[in-house]
């Protein structure tokens, strides 16, 4: 910890030096000698930039509070008798199994049914500006000799918070407010936290990053580089990119990705240059022969970073707490990644091979104990009380049970025994927390599960299986959508509002292997479209890759995954009046995960609010339209990207189209204007459509297709 602070202090000092050294050293340059020579061989580069994205449709991020599924829909909730209190008493099935979670509790003197609308509790958002960030980036390159240099890049980003979204503190008098506890809940209990990324224990995932709610400063690069003959060594914080394919990561496995700062919706041609998570690494490259390059690295494992809840490009339902990251508590911060790649070019042919042992940076998400002790009723900050009669009854019933292990309860059964002193304590040993801005209804549960590629029923059964305290509070495994709905709505109704979930992230080592080849086509006719068409093929095979299970079970799912990517590239001149256009065609086939690494078995779930078709007000839950993920066998993507410069290249028209063959498209037309004087301006539009055809739950784009937006980026370099 102390060393991390020391590193940070050193980095800050370095950055201050970068900002001010130009003038300070300039005077010394007249003195002569080592320092003046060094100054002469030192360069400074700076950029200031503003990025703005304005939404152009009525859609907003449906993972954030205020725009979630069923935000404006009244959904009926009916409580059912838990089997442990009815059909399966004392741990024994006494009534037919079909009666489990199928006996409604009449609303006689008890709050056992109601209708709920999220917007009763959570005000709706109307964010016009999806994204506004100001950034400074600077680079200093100090060449001590021809063979030794120090290169440091710093990046400072500020979000002025003009989107002014959800503030957790606004619910302080609802259901007792959103509680912290159990771990560092830095991203859940206040206003949106745009930048911080912390582990469960509160430490920064990236030890050389300084971040607050609205700013971050980090060092994409800080390395010493030594060159000798055909060898090159780089030691320090760095990013490593491998492979010929752009955006379709096949060989590009050394670094995780940072999905803060506009997710993957920036200028497409920049690929992941602003997204790779820098890591402390030693990289060695050796030009073994004129044709063959061997490149290897060993690096400290740094995980991918996902956006925080309620930030504009959050991709995890904010009904859940920010996943608790076990990076430190699991000891993953001491783990190393390493890999080696060979690339050879022989005229028109090229070959490459790669092997890496790494911790998958996306990690595996699973249910996690919340550690938050809260029961079914209580007192708000303003002195008012919350909780309803059903909740009070349940809590009383729980308290009336006998402690397990005592004389009244020598052998545990969920009907008469309890494992904890209170229901609140029992819940603290589960992932579920009674709190506002969580999930309010069965329909919301199914939809949110679908949106993050989970099986809504399996994840319910798994949490019950993995956390016995849930049986202690009358939960039991369910069979099918209706039983799941009945259980969920029973709990939601008893909560007098909603229930929040806690999940965690762990990491697993995997061995990744890759083979690739390239060929430059040449034709007799130089005018042929295929002349100088470059074909690249890259394949990745990863045995025993761990994916997040569709049930959110601990340890995830193991699978052998293969990924095949084909790339075709071409300069093509349509007309004499304009320079040639650069065209790139890509195809990727993935057997187990989607483009961002999510489990394909979780595809096919419910993806949006559906009408409530059963009459509201009668006893019963609405099961219409509910479905669970069926999974898809593979994912296939096509991309077409390129750019067309104007004469003199003052303007460049760029485009990128990503087509998920199962019915989604992302298209980004862009005009880059280089007016000179070190100014550049980009105008681009992100068009996303996740329901072109087919089951919208089966394509990648649907999960972000709210983000149609016009973007403008203005930069000045100096």
């Amino acid at each position: 910890m102390r060393s991390a602070h020391a590193i940070r202090r050193a980095m800050v000092a370095g950055m201050i030096t970068m900002a001010g050294s130009s003038a300070a050293w300039g005077d010394e340059g007249e003195v002569g000698g080592f320092f003046s020579d060094l100054f002469a061989r030192t360069t400074f580069v700076g950029t200031v930039r503003s990025d703005t994205a304005v939404r152009t449709t009525g859609l907003q991020n449906f993972y954030d509070q205020g725009n979630m599924p069923y935000q404006h829909t009244a959904v009926p909730r009916q409580a059912y008798l838990p089997p442990s209190l009815g059909s399966a008493l004392l741990g024994t099935q006494v009534l037919p199994a079909a009666t489990n979670w199928n006996i409604p509790i009449p609303n006689i003197g008890l709050h056992t049914n109601d209708t709920v609308r999220r917007d009763t509790y959570i005000k709706s958002d109307d964010v016009k500006v999806n994204y506004q960030e100001l950034r400074f980036s600077g680079e200093m390159n100090m060449a001590f000799t021809d063979n030794l240099r120090f290169n440091v890049q710093a990046r400072a980003v500020f979000d002025p918070d003009i989107s002014n979204q959800f503030d957790a503190r606004s619910l302080i008098n609802t259901q007792g407010g959103i509680p912290g506890g159990g771990a560092d809940r830095y991203a859940d209990t206040g206003r949106p936290n745009y930048f911080e990324a912390r582990g469960r224990n509160g430490r920064n995932l990236n030890p050389t990053e300084f971040a607050g709610r609205k700013y971050m400063v980090d060092f994409p690069t800080a390395l010493l580089e030594y060159k000798h003959d055909a060898f090159n060594l780089r030691l320090g914080i760095q990013q490593i990119a491998w492979g010929q394919a752009i955006f379709f990561q096949t060989f590009d496995v050394p670094n995780g990705l940072d999905f803060r700062r506009h997710l993957v919706l920036d200028r497409a041609i920049e690929e992941f240059s602003d997204k790779r998570v820098p890591a402390l690494a030693l990289r060695g490259a050796w030009q073994a022969t004129d044709e063959m390059l061997i490149d290897s690295y060993i690096s400290k494992f740094q995980p991918s970073i996902i956006p925080n809840p309620n930030t504009p490009f959050n991709v995890a339902p904010a009904q859940f707490y920010k996943p608790l990251d076990n990076y430190f508590t699991g000891g993953y911060n001491n783990k190393l990644n390493f890999g080696i790649r060979m690339k050879s070019d022989y005229g028109n042919w090229g070959y490459s091979a790669m092997a890496a042992s790494r911790y998958n940076p996306l990690g595996v998400f699973s249910w996690s104990e919340s550690g938050i002790n809260r029961g079914l009723h209580g007192t708000n900050a303003d002195g008012s009380t919350w909780g309803n009669s059903l909740g009070t009854l349940v809590q009383t019933a729980y308290a009336a049970k006998a402690p397990v292990g005592g004389t009244l309860c020598p052998v545990y059964n969920p009907t008469t025994c309890r494992m904890y002193d209170s229901l609140g304590e029992a819940l603290s040993h589960t992932p579920l927390t009674i709190a506002p801005a969580g999930v309010y209804s069965n329909k919301e549960w199914f939809t949110s599960a679908g949106l993050i590629r989970l099986d809504a029923v399996k994840m319910l059964n798994t949490v019950i299986q993995e956390y016995p305290a849930l049986r202690d509070v009358y939960a039991s495994e369910v069979s099918g959508i209706e039983e799941a709905s009945n259980l969920l709505n029973t709990f939601f109704a008893a909560s007098d509002g909603s229930i929040r979930g806690t999940i965690q992230r762990d990491y697993y080592r995997e061995s990744v292997f890759g083979l690739g080849g390239s060929y430059v086509m040449e034709t007799e006719d130089p005018g042929s479209f295929w002349n100088q068409f470059i074909i690249n093929a890259e394949a990745q095979y990863t045995p025993n890759r761990r994916l997040t299970g569709t049930d959110l079970g601990h340890g995830g799912e193991k699978t052998n995954e293969y990924i095949l990517t084909l790339v075709g590239e071409k300069w093509f001149r349509y007309t004499e009046s304009f320079p040639a256009a650069y065209l790139a065609f890509e195809f990727q086939h993935r057997s187990a995960t989607d483009l961002v690494g999510l489990n394909l078995n979780g595809y096919g779930g419910l993806m949006r609010s559906q009408p409530v078709e059963d009459p509201i007000g009668l006893q019963g839950n609405d099961y219409s339209h509910l479905k669970v993920a069926k999974g898809i066998s593979s994912a296939d993507y096509l991309a077409f990207a390129g750019f067309q410069p104007w004469p003199n290249r003052k303007y460049v028209f760029e485009w990128a189209v990503l087509w998920d063959v199962r019915g989604g498209v992302l298209a980004q037309p862009l005009v880059k204007w280089n007016p000179g004087h070190n100014v550049s301006v980009d105008f681009f539009y992100n068009y996303l459509n996740g329901h072109l055809y087919g089951n919208e739950g089966n394509n990648l784009i649907r999960v972000i297709d709210w983000a149609d937006e016009f973007n403008i980026r203005i930069g000045y370099q100096f």
Binding site: G46, E139, E225, A241, W571, P579, N648, R649, G676
Partner: protein, 465 residues
């Protein structure tokens, strides 16, 4: 002045005959004979009037004068159409006239001169094989100086320009480029390192690292402006001039070296640039990817055949024309024999260029002017460049930059004007001592250059980390 043995038009008539009968350079004697005898006076090969601007302008312009729109008509026949347009048009260009360079040693690098002289003496000469590539008299890949000392055909001229474009086996330049708009205001400013490393066609006659199937590796590394900093490209030229070079690039956005298609040669590499990859040294492309090479005429001309380094500043930048910063204030001089030669981009369908005309000094086969014409046959751009020895000037007037041998003055290109006649834009480049962390290195070790600039690993290391 020597007494004239020949009438005023003798030289011109002789050169017309040379074109008609396919004869080589030299009027009074073949130029290769002059080299063979190591005569340090070009006057032995050319009559005085071909070296005299005064004679050629019938006394209207003399050494020491500036050519302006007021007197340009007297020397119009000595200028290429591009510079004539620059002088008479809205740019109002002015060009100082200096005395002609008469020592052949001053017209090329020392190593290249020595290699050429040795070739002439030993009978080592170039010829074309069945595929049109240059080989020596034994059919081996060319090594030495100029393969065709007395070029007699268009192909020979273009081959001379192409094989060792900078007349240096290993070259490491810093290019300072400033791009101007039509209004005369500077819009863009770049610094980049340009490296050329010949594997064959070397003056030391050794195949570099055994890469006999390659002609050269050529790389460019952008050090500034900030938006392109860290971008680098490596072009690997096959010895077979029918093949388009392989192109590898490191783009900071991609953070890795990737292979790129390379068949498009008519695109500006960076915003604002007027020049294309195809332009430099009139030999940016392998010469057999162009066709219909012709010698149009041979004649005496004014041009920047040998630059005056003494007026360049401490960072080697030439002075500017005072009333138009788009142009360097550099001198022209007479060359007694310039080969006007053209070719067409037959290997590049939909090329925006219809033909290229180069104005090549017959004494060293270097082009000082390379004019592109668009598809309508209109003047499009002029790649005007000068070469010369890097001596003179500095604080004491005795500045001397040494060449790779550590003894002789460095000799290289000094400036380039790339002017677009259709929109009056200019890319103004000069051979710079250093900028933005890169420096000119005449004495760079070729192994170091190779490992630092000319491999995939090198591009990776050069690239923005």
């Amino acid at each position: 002045m020597r007494i004239r043995k020949y009438d005023f038009n003798y030289g011109r008539r002789k050169m017309m005959e040379s074109v008609a009968y396919g004869l080589g350079a030299g009027v009074l004697m073949p130029y290769d004979k002059l080299l063979a005898k190591e005569i340090d006076d070009i006057g032995k090969a050319y009559p005085d009037e071909l070296l005299s601007v005064e004679a050629q302008s019938k006394g209207k312009v003399k050494v020491g004068d500036y050519i302006t729109k007021d007197n340009v008509e007297h020397v119009k026949h000595l200028l290429d159409p591009g510079v004539y347009e620059q002088i008479t048009g809205p740019e109002n260009r002015k060009i100082y006239i200096k005395a002609p360079t008469t020592n052949p040693r001053d017209l090329v690098s020392a190593a290249y001169y020595e290699a050429t002289v040795q070739d002439v003496k030993s009978g080592h000469a170039g010829k074309f094989d069945a595929n049109g590539n240059v080989v020596d008299e034994n059919g081996k890949k060319w090594q030495g100086g100029l393969p065709f000392v007395n070029p007699k055909s268009g192909q020979e001229v273009w081959a001379n320009m192409c094989l060792n474009i900078g007349r240096a086996d290993n070259a490491c330049y810093v290019i300072e480029q400033k791009d101007y708009g039509a209004n005369g205001k500077q819009e863009y400013h770049y610094n980049f390192q340009w490296v050329e490393l010949n594997s064959t066609a070397r003056t030391d006659r050794k195949v570099f690292k055994g890469m006999e199937n390659e002609l050269r590796r050529q790389s460019v590394f952008f050090a500034a402006s900030p938006d392109v900093r860290g971008t680098s490209f490596l072009s690997i030229w096959d010895y077979d001039m029918r093949k388009i070079p392989e192109l590898y690039g490191y783009l900071p956005e991609f953070r890795r070296v990737r292979q790129f298609p390379s068949n498009q040669r008519f695109e500006p590499l960076v915003p604002g640039a007027v020049w294309f990859l195809s332009d430099p040294w009139a030999a940016g492309d392998p010469f057999l990817t162009w066709g219909n090479h012709k010698i149009v005429e041979r004649k005496p001309m004014l041009g920047p055949w040998a630059s005056d380094f003494s007026r360049h500043d401490d960072n080697w930048e030439p002075p500017r024309q005072k009333d138009n910063p788009k142009f360097f204030d550099i001198p022209y001089e007479m060359s007694p024999e310039v080969i006007v030669t053209s070719c067409e981009p037959i290997g590049y369908p939909r090329s925006p260029v219809s033909k290229r005309v180069a104005y090549v000094d017959a004494r060293n086969s270097m082009a000082a002017s390379n004019i592109r014409y668009d598809r309508q046959g209109k003047l499009w751009s002029n790649f005007e460049m000068a070469h010369g020895q890097f001596k003179g000037g500095g604080k004491d007037g005795k500045r001397l930059i040494l060449s790779a041998d550590g003894k002789n003055p460095a000799w290289s290109w000094t400036y380039v004007h790339i002017y677009d006649f259709q929109n009056r834009r200019m890319s103004l480049c000069n051979h710079s001592k250093g900028a933005a962390g890169v420096e000119a290195r005449f004495q760079a070790d070729p192994e170091w250059l190779f490992n630092t600039y000319c491999t995939a690993q090198a591009l990776q290391a050069l690239g923005r980390a």
